[in-house]
């Protein structure tokens, strides 16, 4: 997807709901800065969910509690340590094992190049998504896609949900991009069986996007395949 203002790829996707009306902006980093949109690297979707749910005393079940009381080791995490389990990245490098699911968020940037190296340059998961996870995300995002959002939602909550939808859409877009890249490579190699499998997966991801969002995924678009 291109930036609304120039030909660069859009990396910032903003969704706002004002007086029940949904507005979308898709901008590249430069144009976003120029327009005063706060630019920061897209936080992992679960971070957004975690932030969003904090005020509601809900623990995101797929990456564990962020509650120091639940884990004494994390009561006073050392600088650079995982906030949930207290593991330091140096300890991971030594032992090869992460301490808890949250470590993937705590060390996301440091892990990315390691994963790329080990997994043939891969940068993003493609493949199965747990059904419960997909259903939970859909239940969180659906109200946002409806006119006006859920009853009694505050402006803060609406903004939080908007960030969530944008983060989910960005994650999904990355999966779609990755699948398209692999599909192109399979077609170029005349591996049509593989291409068919990748096309099926692309269709699955886009249909998942439709189910979750009730419409076209923000910033994603449908696959051309």
């Amino acid at each position: 997807m291109k930036c609304d203002c120039c030909a660069n790829p859009a990396t910032i996707h903003e969704v706002t709901i004002h007086s029940g009306k949904r507005m979308e902006r898709h901008l590249c980093e430069n144009c976003a800065r120029a327009q005063g949109v706060v630019v920061q690297s897209q936080p992992p979707v679960t971070q957004v969910i975690a932030d969003l749910l904090k005020g509601h005393a809900i623990t995101p079940p797929w990456v564990g509690p962020d509650d120091p009381a639940a884990n004494p080791a994390a009561a006073n995490p050392a600088p650079g340590a995982c906030a949930a389990c207290g593991l330091k990245f140096a300890e991971f490098r030594q032992g090869g094992l992460l301490g808890c699911p949250r470590c993937y968020m705590s060390f996301a940037e440091a892990l990315a190049p390691l994963l790329e190296r080990y997994h043939q340059g891969a940068t993003h998961h493609v493949g199965k998504v747990p059904r419960r996870f997909a259903a939970r995300i859909a239940s969180l995002t659906r109200p946002l896609m409806q006119e006006g959002g859920p009853p009694g939602e505050s402006a803060d909550e609406a903004r939080g949900r908007a960030r969530l939808v944008a983060a989910i859409a960005a994650e999904r877009e990355a999966r779609i991009t990755e699948l398209r890249k692999q599909l192109d490579a399979a077609v170029a190699a005349e591996d049509y069986r593989r291409a068919a499998l990748l096309r099926d997966e692309l269709l699955r991801v886009t249909s998942e996007a439709r189910e979750a969002g009730g419409g076209t995924p923000i910033g994603g678009g449908g696959p051309s395949a």
Binding site: P44, V45, T46, T59, P60, P61, W62, V63, G64, P65, N71, A73, A84, C85, L87, G95, G96, L97, L98, G99, C100, P101, C103, Y104, M105, A108, L111, L114, L115, Y118, H119, Q120, G121, A122, T123, H124, H125, V126, G127, K128, V129, P130, R131, R132, F133, I168, E171, R172, A174, R175, E178, L179, Q182, R193, R194, L197, L198, D200, E201
Partner: protein
């Protein structure tokens, strides 16, 4: 569901492992196919940072859902010919707390590849669920990850394995929140498994590739294709008995279907073809008598020996298995009165039946190493008509 008292029936132990039944596609070269998923619960730390209490809680959280998920499974395809339930060995699910088992029983499960060698060790709370009598599905709880689900079939059968494991995974997940992030996929203790967290492996018997001096070529090719080539007992094991496991190393950035297609349709068929060509070579010209001599000597050794080590049994059985699949024992040249030619699936089953825990369970008591060597030789002579 049974508790450890009746771990496996005597008939099941005597019969050997269903995945060694020498059935299914390409079973002359492919002994078995395994699909394994790693899953963790989002609400707990990974096991390296879990206390014994956490481990007990994980066991309790998983037990109900794992047990429910492993019941009423779709029937196995007839081509896998898994052992049907009988009166003595009815269809059931075995749930065992592995840390409470005797050392021999733990080893018995590991020898049948129903649990990993690592899972068999250690005193911390851990469990396994195993479907009987087919032994095609097992779930390890508290291995390196909270859950390790595996399906094992004889022959080249990754697609059937994935269909079954996917169903079981969905059933387990219907009651548990798995650790998952859209960017990273299924979160695992070791990032080498993250993503689809799915490892597909095929156990190959490659005696001719070794005898023609080409095993390094296979090893290099596997490495180039980012595949792992390991020995009979998996990670860190040597290639005893010319048995090799080939599996995907990449789990991130590829879908399950693509990983399966690469292995089942591209890579494994090439290795099979490589082995078959090498077997053909072993039968051509003057090489035939040399090969026949090697295989017959191996059979002679197993029919005569009074004590045999595990390593010797595996190495020698490999040559006998090669001889069976090359039809060399149908040779009727002059010699002593003919004994019945060795045949499948017995030869493949002897790979597991001659393992230490199997020998001890068949004997009904614990055996010293020396006693095991004698028992192994006795078993081999009886089985091969020596």
């Amino acid at each position: 569901m049974n508790e450890p008292a009746a771990l496996l029936s005597h008939a099941a132990i005597r019969r050997g492992a269903p995945w060694l039944s020498n059935q299914g596609p390409h079973s002359d070269v492919v002994l078995s196919s395994r699909v394994r998923l790693a899953r963790n619960l989002g609400a707990f730390a990974f096991l390296s940072r879990c206390s014994a209490t956490d481990r007990t809680h994980i066991l309790a959280a998983c037990r109900k859902h794992v047990v429910a998920a492993c019941q009423n499974l779709p029937p196995a395809s007839p081509e896998h010919r898994v052992p049907p339930p009988t009166e003595d060995d009815p269809a059931r699910l075995l749930w065992v707390e592995v840390h409470r088992l005797s050392a021999v029983d733990r080893q018995l499960l590991a020898e049948r590849h129903l649990i990993s060698k690592e899972h068999a060790k250690g005193a911390e709370p851990r469990a396994a669920a195993i479907t009987l009598p087919d032994e095609r599905l097992s779930v390890m709880v508290n291995e390196e990850d909270h859950l390790r689900i595996q399906v094992l079939h004889s022959g080249l059968a990754l697609a059937d394995g994935y269909t079954l494991i996917n169903e079981v995974d969905d059933r387990i997940e219907s009651g548990l929140d798995y650790a998952f992030l859209p960017r990273f996929g299924y979160l695992t203790a070791c990032p080498t498994n993250v993503g689809i967290a799915c490892r597909m492996s095929v156990m190959l018997h490659l005696p001719a590739v070794r005898l023609t001096g080409r095993i390094e070529q296979v090893r290099r090719a596997a490495k180039d294709m980012c595949l792992a080539l390991r020995g009979f007992q998996g990670e860190g094991s040597e290639s005893a008995g010319d048995l090799y496991q080939i599996s995907n190393q990449t789990t991130f950035g590829k879908t399950e279907a693509v990983v399966m297609q690469e292995l089942q349709e591209h890579i494994v068929p090439q290795v099979i073809e490589f082995e078959r060509r090498a077997r053909h070579e072993l039968l051509s010209g003057s090489r035939r008598i040399q090969t026949a001599d090697q295989c017959w000597r191996a059979l002679g050794l197993l029919r005569s020996a009074r004590q045999v080590s595990t390593e010797e049994a595996l190495a020698t059985l490999s040559l006998v298995r090669l001889g069976v699949h090359l039809g060399l024992f149908e040779d009727t040249s002059p010699g002593p009165a003919a004994l019945p030619a060795p045949a499948e699936p017995l030869i493949s089953q002897l790979i597991v039946l001659t393992q230490p825990a199997h020998l001890q369970r068949l004997a009904g008591r614990e055996l010293s190493q020396q006693e095991r060597r004698i028992a192994r030789a006795d078993l081999l002579r009886t089985a091969l008509g020596g």
